[in-house]
Structure formats: structure tokens, C-alpha cells
Symmetry: C2
Subunit: 302 residues, 2 copies
């Protein structure tokens, strides 16, 4: 569940206007490579038919996507700095998302793997209420809600399994500077797992079972970082569904898939790279990440 | 080879005055856990005898340490910000290092594993010239030399095997924003390997054999980051000497040892934690790093 959008993106390498995007577009395309996806969102009637058709072709069920007649699709514009690490939001036009009220179709109420993309925590909570347990719920959020809607967000945290935030958000939410302390504090707030995304520095998973950390895949050709976090999340939830397992080993594999997908996503503008992605290519990227992080046991005496 | 110093350190957790430190003190203590160390540096006669004695006790040969009569030891003062990621240098008093001219004792000229701590590139070059091949030379540097002594540094790069820099220094030296491109450019300048240190985000190794990356050990209790990079380097060079191997697998293990040592170093002020470090504790930290980074092969079809 999350936004479908038309993005205007400027990077040092070029610009695209009204390109198809949005958190659930990135997450949906990534997850659909691994498991059937049920998408919940809304678009205006200005949203390109081809984009929805491309999702349908890829096991993505659009029964949860409301097409609002005479509505305008969500539009976002952003510009990336020369180092691709900082971006300025140029504009945000909520359009149909101003009145969005996610409805889970009756036949979807037993969905087992749920990803709540970044959106008002009340709407995320509404989705959680509409899906029956047992379910594994992953939620994303952002500084805007941590600051402006803390109470609703904290309530949500009591009802999800895994929170996905970046390092600044983890610090802001927990009011702890140290990332370990921040993650421990967030675990106290409800979720069993916290994933901390660190952009070009990778991601880590914290749980009561101990930490897991992955570097990002080093890339000589980052073209557009838009969607990296959402495709990462899509890879994670898709892999958990594919494995149908949420144990520690499965979560580690899911983070590796997310890291691999995100590394592919940023190598082209918008969703272009995700559209061309195959399971075989994902396998290859996953294994190159594994080769890149493997080292032999300690030969020193214990 | 490098500085021995008296450090005044302020962190949000406390303050120490004239604590024993310096790059070669940190690197020497770390490396000495794994291999006999030959230390080259200089101190004034104000340098605490106990500190030199502590080094001697730990297989560190001090025949290359000049004790300058009526000389003042190098002094450095720094203050860390609340997040421990940024520090201000409060003062630097070169003392005996103003006229330091490293002399390698005759019987040390066949040393096989050489670490050149951060110092003027001309002095690093002088050490390289004094040690006969075959040898494996690891060098550290900093923004000050990249900016102010680029020519001498570039000459040095043609004579070393591994350059160790942080991410900002890699970008500055290569004039490339992208870290992959930066590392590739540095490899073109001479060394066969580049290690890029990323502080709390870990470290990576780049060579023609492909990349290797490690996250840092997540720590709830970073007390004093001083010496993290130098103890990391000491762990790396010590492990290479212990293994007596500089192949890709050995370098990966050496980076893991460096990461483990650095993670222990920062858990107490100055060199305190290194002084108490045992091989068994290092083994344990290495293996917890390995457990933290291991994930299963990709179960998806290739």
C-alpha cells in the first residue's frame, strides 16, 4: 500500500518529467518479481494506462487501486545534488492522495505479507486493521510523520512487525544519537525488527536475535537514487513471501534481495531498471553482494 | 612508522589530558597482538617512560624511536561533537616531529610488512627507500597532504601496495565524487589496493580482483573515536604479517581484524582498550563481525 505518482526528477545526469513512480510502484515492481502482489493506492485519470498495464502483466493485482475520475495523480518533483546523497523536494502535489482512504478488497483480508509504504500513520493503521492476523507487516515512515504525527506513529509501532527507516529517522524517532541505542529504543516501541537504511552505506537489521549488516553494492553508475528505499522494501517483502518464512535467516536473505534490487533500481531513471529486471539478474546481483561480503573464519586462537 | 603523541581529548563522555597516543602508538599496540613490531618515531624526554615500557612488554621493538633530549613530544588536542562523527582539532604542537627524519635501523632494512602512518609524504617515501624489497607497504594519509603536498603524495603512490584513506580523502585525491570511480582512479595512480574507511559505516577494499566491503561493528558505547583508523591499520598490517600472505583472502581477513580492533579501541579513552586487548577477545569480536555479516546463498533460480 502506498503512493502511485508522476515524478519529475533532476540529477546531474539528466531529467525526466512526469515519469511513473511512487512508493508502491517501485515496491510493487520489485516484489512482483518474487511473489504475487496486491497493490493498494490511488491515481487520477491522468495516470498513464501503459503503466498500470505493465504492473498487471507482472502478477500485480490492481483491484486495490482506485482510479479517481477527474482526479489528479500525486506529483512529486525532486533535484539531486552532484553527489547524489542529498536531494531537494521541488514540489509535492497530493492530488488524489489528499483524500486517500485505503480500502482492502474483501478477498485480500487474509494477505500474509503486508508492506505499508510511507504515508500518514493513520492510513497505515487502517490497513493493518483491515488485514487479519496472522500477517507480517513491514512499515516505512519519514521525518514528516515522526515530527508531525508522532502519537499515531507510535500507536502503529505496536501493531507492526518490522519498521524500516533511514539512520536520521531512527535517531529522530528514538531521540538517541547512537544507532544501536536508537534501534534498541525502537524495538521497545513495538516492532520485533528494525531495518536501518543508510543509503550508499548499506542497511542493517536489528532484533532481539542480534544485528545483521550489509554494505550497499558499490556502483560506478548511480543515475537516479529515486525509489531506492521503496524497491529495497519491495525486495524485502517479496522475498519473505517467496520464502514464506520470517525467521532470522530469511530476513537476512530478504535484506540481501532488497539491497540487490535497490542497487539495480538506481542504475537508471525512475522505474526503467526495475521494469527490465529478471530473477536471473537479481540472482546474479545477490551472489555478487555475497561474494563481496564473505571472509574466512578467524584463524587466530580463541 | 608514525607519531607518538600526548593527546588531550574531549568527548561528550569525558576528557583526558596528555594521554599517550599518536598513530604509531595505536597501530603498534594493535599490530603487536599479532606479530613482532618495529616502531619508528620520535618523542621528547617528557614522554612517559611507562608508555614506552608498555610497548616493550608487548613485542614492540623501540630501536627506531628517537628520544630527543630537551625535546617536547608531539601534542594534539581534539574535541568530538555529540554524535562522535565530527571532531575539531583544538591544537597541534609538532614538538620533536617538526624535525623528524625517520631512520630505519640497519638490521630492520629487510622488514616485510611496513605501515606508514599519516605524516608528510616525503618522510613516508624516505622510509620506503630505506626498506628493501620484497615488502608490502601500507600507507595512510590525510586531506592536509592531498591538498598541500600532492606531488610528493602522488610520487609515494607509485611505491606503495595499499593506500588507506577515508571516503572524503578518496574523493579529494581522485577528484571523483563516486566512490567506485574514486577507488578506480587511485588504483591507476599506483597502489594495487585501496582501503576506504567510512567510520561508523565500515570499510571497503578495492583492487583489480573486485570489491570487498565490511560494515563497522554496531556499538552502543562509543567512548572515544581517537585512534580508530590507526588501530584499524595496525590490525590490518599485523594480520598480514601473522598470515604472511597478501592474497585477496588474507586481505579480507586483515580488514576484518582491523575492523574488530578498531571497534574495541573506541570503547574506551585513548589506548586503554588496546592495552587490555587479548587475542582471545579479538577472535571473539572477529567472529561476531562474521556472524553479523553472513547470509545464505540465493535460493532464487539463476
Amino acid at each position: 500500500m502506498g503512493s502511485l505518482a508522476l515524478d519529475t526528477i533532476e540529477t546531474p545526469f539528466g531529467r525526466v518529467d512526469d515519469a511513473v513512480g511512487g512508493a508502491s510502484m517501485y515496491a510493487g515492481l520489485a516484489a512482483a518479481l518474487l511473489a504475487p502482489v496486491r497493490l493498494v493506492g490511488a491515481v487520477g485519470d491522468d495516470f498513464p494506462q501503459e503503466a498500470l498495464a505493465a504492473l498487471s502483466e507482472r502478477q500485480v493485482d490492481l483491484a486495490g487501486v482506485e482510479i479517481v475520475e477527474d482526479g489528479k495523480s500525486f506529483r512529486w518533483g525532486g533535484r539531486y545534488d552532484f553527489d547524489m546523497n542529498t536531494r531537494d523536494t521541488l514540489f509535492t502535489e497530493l492530488g488524489v492522495f489528499a483524500d486517500f482512504d485505503p480500502r482492502i478488497p474483501e478477498q485480500w483480508r487474509t494477505t500474509e505479507y503486508v508492506f505499508l509504504a510511507n504515508i500518514q500513520p493513520q492510513l497505515q493503521m487502517s490497513v493493518v486493521r483491515q488485514v487479519e492476523p496472522p500477517r507480517f507487516v513491514v512499515a516505512d515512515t519519514m521525518n514528516f510523520w515522526i515530527e508531525g504525527d508522532r502519537e499515531a506513529l507510535v500507536e502503529l509501532l505496536g501493531h507492526i512487525d518490522l519498521l524500516m527507516v533511514n539512520d536520521a529517522e531512527a535517531r529522530q524517532l528514538s531521540e538517541e544519537t547512537n544507532l544501536c541505542a536508537a534501534a534498541a529504543e525502537i524495538l521497545q516501541m513495538g516492532p520485533r525488527y528494525v531495518v536501518i537504511k543508510k543509503g550508499e552505506y548499506g542497511a542493517s537489521l536489528v532484533s532481539r536475535e542480534g544485528p545483521f549488516a550489509l554494505p550497499a553494492v558499490p556502483l560506478p553508475d548511480v543515475v537516479d537514487p529515486t525509489g531506492a528505499g521503496d524497491s529495497f522494501a519491495g525486495g524485502v517483502i517479496g522475498m519473505l513471501a517467496w520464502l514464506d518464512d520470517t525467521g532470522d535467516d530469511a530476513l537476512r536473505q530478504a535484506l540481501a534481495v532488497g539491497t540487490a534490487v535497490a542497487s539495480i533500481c538506481v542504475q537508471d531513471f525512475g522505474v526503467q531498471a526495475l521494469k527490465g529486471l529478471t530473477v536471473a539478474k537479481l540472482y546474479e546481483r545477490y551472489e555478487s553482494l555475497r561474494a563481496m561480503t564473505t571472509f574466512a573464519p578467524c584463524p587466530l586462537p580463541s
